[in-house]
């Protein structure tokens, strides 16, 4: 415990003393976070022993700006990385550093950067601390606006691979035209139109021969992907679409086939005060695109692109228990969402108004038509054919949910959620033979404001299913003293497990202190094994039992 205290002092006090400073008209700012976990072995829930007892993930961003110039770096340390994070996040270093110059219509960055082309179908580099994911590019990025309404960007470099950088070379360009800015005749038009196009290319040396069916494969060292997009906004209506194409990319994920890849995404929405409606659809076919053709498809690393999940991001524990992971080698998905606010002082709206949100999401596989073995031209190395508009027979995910938010009085408000779920555990979680999970989930979240400073919130949730581990019940009570203190206790109980000896309680107590830009959260309890997904990208969270401390700050 002494060591924990000393560690806390070292990692909190030092950066917390850094304040925004003026240095010859320059400014220093940044942010910091450390996550520390103390582990106790708990054989019942599968929390294994941790020899070091503690795990820690920490980072600090320090950014200096002076006029048009900016330079920054990120310090990261994993001593050892928290359970559930890839073991290659190890040690200490400055894996992210850059310098940037920007003026009105020109920007150049050297070093490490994040960038996205369009919706990210062929290229997106970003980082997500909670997932342990960072695919930054180290190299050069140039952005320019040669004319009003025209933006062109180019990138060149290597992708980050945990604490190192991959040898493959990534290069690409993106162009976007806003007709309303480019053409004087459209400047005042109510309809706004934007076109864009991108290209990305990866060069990776062949290395060891790849052999399939006694054939030494002719592996392409340069693999490119192209995309085109359009966005039209007219009043309250917004329509966007993007299509992407990748040439032959034999890789470990697709079992080294030479089939081209395709991805398409369309979305249409209508929004006005009190009403919003959107519908989106996508198709992905052989579109796992990475810096390394031999990268494991079940490790979140070296992804060049981003394929979003068309599902609602659920925030309650039980509604988020079975999250969807995008299937880059083939899926067709649809999502429709309606938000409506019943006005206040109406029969359905009540005194304060009522908001209703209805969401439907569904994902299926795509249809595969096999190719007959061709021992002369190896046509079967194409892998399969797939009709662009045909939907596969296997259901991956379906989620119908409705959420009602209502304020009952000045002191009392509530959120009521119902969800019906179908979840293909076999494919999404990689558990061969696991049956589909069909579940009904309900959640009630009530907040009572005692006075201007004190409030109490309670959650009650229930998940009913005959599959997997059976029914779950969840309860939480949170007491807050605004604006600084939050106290909570919660319990997640596997009430319906067929094995009565495995009906465990996963209880947790936590205290959170927030002051201005600083936050300290301390909790003790048990964590159930599960999946954490953000936008379709997932990380496994192992079972654990112990103390967790998170300290974060901005300066």
């Amino acid at each position: 415990m002494k060591n924990l205290y000393k560690l806390l002092l070292a990692v909190v006090i030092l950066p917390a003393n850094l304040i925004a400073q003026n240095v010859q008209q320059g400014q220093v700012h940044g942010n910091f976070q450390t996550d520390i976990q103390y582990y106790q072995e708990d054989e019942d829930i599968g929390a294994t022993e941790v020899p070091a007892k503690l795990g820690m993930n920490s980072f600090a961003n320090i950014i200096y700006t002076n006029g048009n110039f900016e330079a920054g770096m990120r310090f990261e340390t994993y001593q050892n990385a928290l359970k559930g994070y890839d073991g290659r996040l190890d040690g200490t270093g400055l894996p992210h550093k850059y310098a940037k110059y920007t003026d009105d219509d020109f920007s150049v960055t050297v070093g490490d950067f994040y960038e996205q082309f369009g919706n990210g179908l062929i290229f997106r580099s970003y980082e997500d601390w909670s997932l342990g994911f960072d695919n930054a590019v180290r190299g050069i990025r140039v952005k320019t606006k040669p004319f009003d309404g025209v933006t062109i960007k180019g990138i060149y470099g290597n992708q980050r691979y945990f604490m190192e950088f991959n040898e493959s070379i990534v290069r690409g360009a993106d162009g976007e035209i806003s007709l309303n800015e480019l053409l004087p005749s459209m400047e005042e038009a109510k309809t706004k139109i934007m076109f864009g196009g991108s290209v990305i290319s990866r060069f990776q040396e062949l290395g060891e021969n790849i052999i399939k069916d006694s054939i030494i494969l002719d592996i392409p060292e340069n693999v490119s992907a192209f995309s085109g997009r359009m966005n039209i906004i007219h009043g309250k209506i917004n329509v966007l679409g993007e299509y992407a194409y990748k040439i032959n990319d034999p890789n470990l994920s697709n079992n080294y086939i030479f089939k081209d890849g395709q991805a398409a995404f369309v979305s249409a929405g209508y929004s006005q005060k009190g009403l919003g409606f959107s519908v989106s659809a996508k198709r992905i076919d052989n579109f796992d695109f990475r810096s390394d053709r031999n990268a494991s498809p079940i490790v979140n690393a070296l992804n060049l692109n981003y394929l979003p999940a068309l599902t609602k991001m659920h925030h309650y524990t039980l509604t988020a228990m079975y999250p969807y992971a995008t299937q880059p080698n083939g899926e067709m998905a649809l999502q429709a969402e309606l938000i409506y606010k019943f006005d206040k002082k109406t029969a359905l709206g009540g005194k304060y108004g009522t908001t209703v949100n209805v969401n439907y999401s569904r994902a299926n596989t795509i249809k595969h038509e096999g190719i007959a073995v061709d021992s002369v031209n190896n046509a079967h190395f194409e892998g399969y054919n797939s009709d662009f508009f045909a939907i596969g027979d296997t259901l991956l995910y379906e989620d119908i949910n409705i959420q009602i938010k209502k304020k009952f009085s000045k002191k009392l408000k509530g959120v009521f959620t119902y969800m019906n779920l179908a979840y293909n555990q076999d494919i999404i979680e990689g558990h061969p033979g696991a049956p589909m999970v069909y579940a009904n989930i309900g959640a009630v979240d009530m907040t009572y404001k005692i006075n201007t400073k004190n409030a109490i919130r309670g959650e009650a949730q229930y998940l009913s299913t005959k599959s997997d581990e059976g029914d779950w019940a969840y309860g939480l009570i949170e007491y807050s003293v605004a604006p600084k203190w939050f106290f909570s206790v919660m319990d997640q109980y596997n009430i319906g497990n067929e094995d009565k000896d495995r009906r465990f309680h996963y209880y947790t107590g936590s205290v959170v202190f927030v002051k201005n830009a600083h936050r300290v959260a301390l909790s003790y309890g048990k964590q159930r094994r599960g999946l954490l997904c953000v936008g379709g990208v997932c990380r496994e969270v192992p079972a654990s039992n112990g103390i967790t401390l998170t300290v974060s700050s901005r300066f």
Partner: protein, 292 residues
């Protein structure tokens, strides 16, 4: 327009003209036939009494793994117990195997070993000691949700597998050439029942008696003797098709491999196994010293 905008547009335009290699049929070339330098060998008739299941155990270990020496002792006991029915490799991978401060500043990891452990561990890297056994999903301990088995379950899993009758059997003859520091590897696969799927053959090289430092339960032992260290996959890391999968079929494969200068031939063994080309589950294995 400022000059640098033109430079920037030129640079970006250059990037847009990117190379891409479109590959046309037949997508590659056939593997060369039997190396001319390898003389034909004669495999002995199978003695059906000795045709039994052989289990492949791939331990994931590291020089900084303090509990792994306990596992190494256990492996030695299991090898003594099961004899030829247990083929073992030790893959140095994950953070436990990464070099750090002297004397733990050498590296026994390999690209092939990393690829194997990455694929089978997925996103969960359990704490060592742990092993893959026949690359089967763990059906012994429901708390170990993955393709790995912890030390306490190794013998239980091996016993379970050895109860099964073998779907196939492998015979291997290695002929070492000390002048070229190479060897011809002859593997004969014989099927005893139909197999539903395609079968790949893999050949790995392992080396014993590598002396180096090791964390032994918190103490650094500088002259630790590393055994059965995975050095390389001599074919594609996930194997090459053998073209048979029906009862009574057999196939003979011959390859010539060069040894790296750092490897000591008399300490080397060759582990060969067949696996399902899609699931990568091991069907049958065999292990022989390179020089008998």
């Amino acid at each position: 327009m400022k000059k640098y905008r033109l430079i920037a547009i030129f640079f970006v335009g250059l990037l847009a003209i990117t190379a891409c290699d479109k590959v046309e049929a037949p997508y590659g070339e056939k593997i060369p036939p039997i190396p001319a330098e390898c003389e034909q060998v004669t495999f002995s008739e199978l003695n059906m009494d000795s045709v039994k299941k052989v289990v492949l155990l791939e331990e994931v270990t590291g020089i900084k793994c303090p509990n792994c020496p306990i596992a190494h002792e256990r492996l030695h006991e299991l090898e003594e117990l099961y004899g030829y029915q247990l083929a073992v490799t030790g893959i140095h991978a994950s953070a436990n195997a990464a070099p750090s401060n002297p004397p733990l500043d050498y590296d026994l990891r390999t690209d092939d070993g990393n690829e194997i452990s990455d694929y089978l561990f997925g996103q969960t890297i359990p704490f060592a000691p742990t092993a893959f056994i026949q690359r089967q999903y763990n059906d012994i301990n429901i708390l170990d949700d993955g393709y790995f088995y912890n030390l306490n379950d190794w013998q239980t899993k091996i016993d379970q597998l050895l109860q099964q009758s073998p779907e196939a059997f492998l015979q291997m003859i290695n002929v070492y050439d000390s002048v070229e520091n190479s060897f011809c590897c002859h593997v004969k696969t014989t099927m005893f029942e139909d197999y539903n799927g395609d079968i790949n053959l893999s050949i790995y090289l392992v080396e014993d008696s590598i002396i180096g430092a090791q964390d032994v339960e918190g103490d650094i032992v500088e002259d630790y003797v590393h055994m059965r260290v995975f050095r390389k996959s001599l074919l594609n890391v996930w194997g090459v098709p053998i073209g048979i999968n029906l009862d009574e079929e057999s196939a003979e494969s011959v390859y010539k491999f060069d040894l790296e200068d750092a490897w000591i031939p008399k300490n080397c063994s060759v582990v060969a196994f067949i696996s399902d080309s899609e699931t990568r589950e091991v069907i049958q294995a065999t292990s022989e010293h390179l020089i008998k």
